[in-house]
């Protein structure tokens, strides 16, 4: 089983890289072969990934959220799954190149260094903790997808404004579609992040006897939550333009990335479970 898991660990980034190449062919060259194979390869890769995560849980007796490297794989899986749902919904495949690009990055980081921990905190089997981590990862996925669509929105927006009718103009769906997915993905991400934060505060109270800690991860997550809440709220209440929502989404995800990379690896005190 361990050998099979190791093989899957190599296979997954390879499949995602192939998928990314397929979407690149589709975006840059409108390749008919890529048009046919990309959706199929996406489904196959996501299925293998689900199998990998399931087998990892059974083999190593914990959900793969004990380390940043394990969590990155869950993150890659949830972003890919969310993209699969979006692609199926809108039938546009030209944005796959951008979304799968970040999935490749997450999975490469995971596969390169992931190892089953010899010991880990008993918290990992606590239902409340699992809900906290999984909702956080689902939230990050939604926010990542929202940031990519926000970025694409701005690229197309300025290309149209500046009368540039190049590849971005030709390949991307309408501004309205991308604005819709920026907003919806951010809303979904924010909802999950809110559940994760409420769960996190409850756990904090149980473990440390307080609802607050000056933990850098907690602080950056709260800042990101405030940015998203402000942006989405302003869009709903004051009719903020999709352009502003796109900027908000990118700003919020920059904070999330800082939280995921810098804070997780360097600064955190209590977000470690091995």
């Amino acid at each position: 089983m361990v050998g099979f898991l190791n093989a899957l660990n190599i296979l997954l980034p390879t499949l995602y890289a192939l998928l990314w190449a397929d979407y690149a062919l589709l975006f840059f060259r409108n390749d008919p072969f890529a048009e046919r194979t990309a959706p199929l390869l996406l489904r196959i890769t996501v299925s293998f990934h689900a199998l990998f995560l399931g087998l990892w849980t059974v083999t190593y007796h914990h959900f793969p959220i004990a380390s940043v490297f394990e969590a990155n794989s869950v993150l890659a899986f949830s972003v890919a799954t969310l993209y699969l749902l979006i692609e199926t919904r809108i039938g546009v495949r030209t944005t796959g190149f951008f979304i799968i690009g970040i999935v490749v990055a997450f999975q490469l980081v995971s596969s390169a260094a992931v190892e089953p921990p010899s010991t880990f905190s008993g918290l990992l089997w606590e239902p409340a903790f699992m809900v906290h981590v999984f909702t956080a990862l689902l939230g990050y996925s939604g926010l990542a997808v929202s940031a990519v669509y926000g970025l694409l929105y701005l690229m197309l927006f300025y290309d149209i404004k500046k009368h540039r009718f190049g590849l971005i103009y030709k390949q991307l769906p309408s501004l309205e579609i991308m604005a819709s997915f920026t907003y919806r993905s951010a809303s979904l991400g924010l909802a999950f992040l809110t559940v994760a934060m409420v769960g996190g505060f409850a756990l904090l109270m149980r473990v440390y006897g307080t609802y607050w800690s000056w933990d850098p991860k907690l602080m950056t997550t709260c800042i990101a939550w405030l940015i998203y809440s402000l942006g989405l709220g302003a869009s709903r209440i004051w009719g903020w333009s999709p352009k502003r929502v796109a900027f908000t989404s990118i700003a919020g995800f920059t904070v999330i990335l800082f939280s995921l990379v810098i804070v997780n690896l360097v600064l955190t005190r209590f977000h470690v479970f091995v």
Binding site: N30, I160, F165, K170, P173, S174, L175, S241
Partner: protein, 426 residues
Amino acid sequence: MDLIVVGLNHRTASVEVRERVAYDDREVQGVLARARSDEVLSEAILLSTCNRTEFYGLSNDNGSAEMYIRGLIAATKQVDLTAHPGYAYTLTRLESVRHLLRVAAGLDSLVLGESQILGQVRRAHELGVESGACGLTLNRLLQSAILVGRRVRNETSIGAGAVSVASAAAELAGKIFRDLSARSVLLIGVGEMGTLTARHMVERGVSKLTIANRTFHKAEELARELGGTALPLDRLESALAVADIAISSTAATTPIVSRKLMESIVGKRGGKPLVIIDIAVPRDFEASIGELDGVFLHDIDDMNLLVDRNLVKRRAEIPKAETIVEQEVEAFMAWRASLAAAPVIKKLRERVEELRSHEVERHRKRFCGNDREQVDLLTESLVNKILHPVMTRVREWGEEGHLGALRIDALYEAFDLERPDRDDEE
């Protein structure tokens, strides 16, 4: 039997001539019924669109077939093509096949890669089948043409991108709005290009059309024609405050909408985007309006740029489309050639089967019950094993042109097979 096409198109004849020899569906059926009863063509198809009228036929004598088709056009449309040799063209055999497949691919169209022609080829096929004039060969040819049309559109980008100002404007609006059918269009001025663009938007299904013009009765006339609402030009500000797409093509010599006016309009729109296609020369909207948030301002140069780029992209797809055409021409010609082998295969099998059953019958009394059945099975199996490689070779000869035809001929001689008449071959 050879294929022939006699026709004229946008390259060889002016619109005045083309409209005189255009056939509607009812006329096509009448002409095909007549061609069928006259028996000069054993099969016939008529493809008639606004840009071409082409008769495809199958006959024993292409010279007579050409004269017949020209006569048929003269009789039904009173246009003597022989008096104007430059109008019509005649292509035969391989060239006629290649021509139809290129037509279906959109390679011979006025607008390169346009997709309407495929539907028209399909309709010509249906009418041919309904009238009974489309037989085995033309049926297969039309199927090949439809297949080429589909393949070219699926496997190349020859039909992608707008190639007229009107469609470029719709394409641009489609890059901002998800669904044009939920959008309202404001046409400012009733200039030709603007009207054409508005008409295109209506065809794309926009929900509401408002026409504002200095001369109100002209706006009313056009509104009646396009199914919109007319508005005097002095109510332009309120119309711009609610429209999603504005198309402007007035004859005004100075801008009719200033930046200041547009700033106040944008303030009333609640952040809703406004697409302005200003195709007037001189322009109707001050250029700096394009800097305002939520306003996408594009002029005639932008539309021409879009059209030119799309045309260049379409032309770049021609080699891919031609390759598909050649693949299907080859497949069709191979199928045609293989038809020549079918009769000899049938005759040879009949002859050998006749010998086998005769011999089995002659010796039947020597065997009892079960053994007779076994002898039948054994001899049938033996015959099949002997004939199988022969049949394979004969099919290959059918695709080898003249040399293959000679070999097939030798087979008729060697086995003393009865030769089929020409109709059987088809």
